[in-house]
């Protein structure tokens, strides 16, 4: 422990040096901007600015890129809460209750809870990264394709089980999302699937156009022409900060989201996205008032926002300790390190302690910086809601088109967003939840690849999923959820989710 503290002191001496502090600040500002703008997520932001770091030394470069990464995670919640447009895919779940809170006049509270939750999760997970990096990385290495497939399936089942309305409908939406996720080139054989000659579809449907379409565009299609369009909200200064009761409701979800996000973040895949989905599902399950979810539940903002920020730090564990990136963003960061002649892996801590511990310390500093940067901006951001809706929604549409186009400079992505917008609008009318579709699109390529890799490993035997104990336990848990749902359905006909859905229908009629 003393070693850790003395190393951390070394790290802070690096992170608090004016040039490193400056680059951390620049990274945080750019990251927040990148996160706030719909479509331009952390991956695009880091990729665009990577060449700008070539002239810097390794520590400054990685500190700035890391600042962009977690700054984008902070900023992503802003448009989700204020306009129901996910700034990046991990903010999809924040759209649901964050936007509902905003419509109730609690936008400031939602933004503040998201910022503080992100800060707590970011800081706590850095402590986790510092203390547990090497052992956790070894555990993560035991997650081969069978374990990954089991975890991904479990994630889908948990989401379906926890969703309001029927599990059947949620599963149907997940299946639809997974089907959409199979569009494009088959990773194992190179066959083009359902692309109809559109070359841009070779890479599959992007998560950003799908999420922005299903949430942002669908919301505008449904509300802009409604007999009573959303009213202009004029928040008072006293309403900008959360009440004591809201802080109380946020405390445990922030704690749970932090732990959950960190653990999921270590595992391979789009961890920060999955972490926010799973956190939302868990919060809904443990809540004493699950009927509030979807209508402005504080836990529905606090949990997912904490989880996706915590997962950000978790993703650095295998990258730094083993040199194994757990997703596309750590992969780009890894490339950035290698460009600067740094080889991440077990020897990094011993060979370049100033870089490793400077990076860790800069994450503490960056989190404080982001909190200081974001909390005063809450008042500024909330003013967006003062704009009359006939001016606000066209501007939101333009930002959506712009953000989606900017990711790949592709008009095809804009068309995908539009189609998803119409699909989301119709599904909303038919009382379907669209969040499982987004998760399905994210998970489909991962599920397919891990299934086929598992079968290749076992010579085509499905018993591999039982022989691998972690995979077997995860699958058994998923099966138990399905059986539990069937049992509840058979015994009572209606469970709490169905009753809730009926109550909602009663309210609205």
């Amino acid at each position: 422990m003393l070693d850790v503290l003395s190393n951390l002191a070394l790290g802070f001496s690096v992170a608090l040096s004016p040039p490193v502090l400056f680059y951390a600040f620049i990274g945080c500002v750019i990251g927040t901007l990148v996160g706030v703008l719909p479509g331009v997520g952390p991956l695009a932001g880091i990729s665009l600015l990577l060449p700008a770091t070539f002239g810097m030394d390794a520590t400054r470069a990685i500190v700035m890129l890391a600042g962009i990464y977690y700054g984008a995670m902070y900023g992503g919640s802003t448009t989700s809460i204020l306009m129901r447009i996910p700034g990046e895919a991990a903010s999809v779940m924040t759209c649901i209750d964050g936007y509902a809170m905003a419509r109730k006049g609690r936008a400031g509270a939602a933004l503040a809870i998201a910022a503080v939750g992100s800060y707590v999760a970011g800081t706590a997970s850095v402590i986790g990264l510092m203390v547990m990096a090497p052992p956790l990385a070894r555990i993560a290495l035991r997650f081969g394709p069978p374990e990954q497939l089991a975890l991904l399936l479990l994630g889908l089942l948990v989401l379906a089980y926890m969703s309001s309305g029927s599990m059947l409908k949620a599963l149907a939406m997940a299946a639809l999302g997974l089907l959409l996720g199979t569009i494009g080139i088959d990773q194992m054989t190179g066959y083009m699937r359902y692309a109809y000659g559109v070359v841009e579809l070779g890479d599959g449907l992007g998560v950003v156009p799908v999420a922005v379409g299903l949430f942002g565009v669908a919301e505008i299609l449904a509300t802009a022409g409604a007999p009573t369009p959303p009213a202009v909200i004029k928040p008072k200064l006293s309403e900008l900060l959360p009440s004591r009761e809201e802080w109380r409701q946020a405390a445990w979800p922030i704690g749970r989201g932090t732990v959950l996000g960190f653990v999921i973040g270590i595992l391979p895949g789009s961890a920060h996205i999955i972490a926010s989905f799973v956190s939302y599902a868990v919060e809904k399950r443990v809540s004493r008032r699950p009927q509030e979810f979807g209508h402005g539940a504080v836990a529905g903002v606090a949990g997912p926002e904490s989880a996706n920020n915590s997962a950000t730090s978790g993703a650095f564990v295998p990258m730094l300790a083993l040199g194994v990136p757990s997703g596309p963003i750590p992969a780009v960061m890894l490339a950035a390190l290698m460009v600067h002649g740094v080889a991440p892996g077990p020897l990094l801590i011993g060979n370049q302690p100033a870089l490793f511990w400077g990076f860790i310390a800069s994450m503490y500093v960056g989190n404080v910086m982001l909190l200081i940067l974001n909390l005063p901006l809450v008042g500024l951001f909330v003013n967006i809601l003062r704009v009359p809706y006939p001016y606000l929604y066209p501007a939101v549409l333009i930002f959506s088109i712009l953000g989606v186009y900017a990711v790949n400079a592709s008009v095809v992505d804009v068309w995908i967003m539009l189609v998803m917008g119409v699909l989301g609008y119709v599904l909303r009318k038919l009382d379907f939840e669209t969040a499982p579709i987004v998760l399905g699109v994210v998970l489909a390529p991962l599920i397919e690849l891990s299934l086929r890799q598992s079968l290749a490993m076992s010579d085509g035997r499905y018993t591999i999923f039982i022989e691998h104990r972690i995979a077997a336990a995860l699958l058994a848990f998923g099966l138990a959820l399905v059986l539990l749902n069937l049992y509840t359905f058979a015994r009572r006909g209606l469970d709490w989710r169905a009753r809730m859905a009926l109550a909602e229908k009663g309210d609205s009629s």
């Binding site: 299946a175 505008i220 066209p394 549409l397 712009l402 804009v414 917008g421 085509g460």
Partner: protein
Amino acid sequence: MSVDRVSGIGLAALALLVLEETWRQRLPLGSVATPGPAYLPGLLALLLLGAGVAVAALGGGGPRAASLDWREWRHSVAIFVACAFGAFALERLGYRLTVFAALTFLVGGVERKPIAATVVFAAALALGTFWLFDTLLRVPLPRGPFGF
């Protein structure tokens, strides 16, 4: 017919369409031990078909499809047309002209706001977002035939 029944039938029809398309594109199915490119989509389409049939079968007692409120459809179509124009014209007319035209149509034509306010709003947003993304953030945005 109930909403759930209509949506269940819709999902089942979509699943059948995917199955038909998988067969039409002659994607190799592979085997249970070595799945081919059509294996997972086929499996998922069958799952969607099953879910659709189940939703339709169990959803007879819900609200009627005829009771759905579509009053905003004219507005929704207008918004969709504006977005479709945006997607179509973005690389042909350039970002600034496309955004200006789409916003003028939406704010002035659909929302019937005063012409001066519409023009100022559309021009400010078109030029402002271009400056923010293209000039400041170096995200390349399309320019039109006149370099604008």
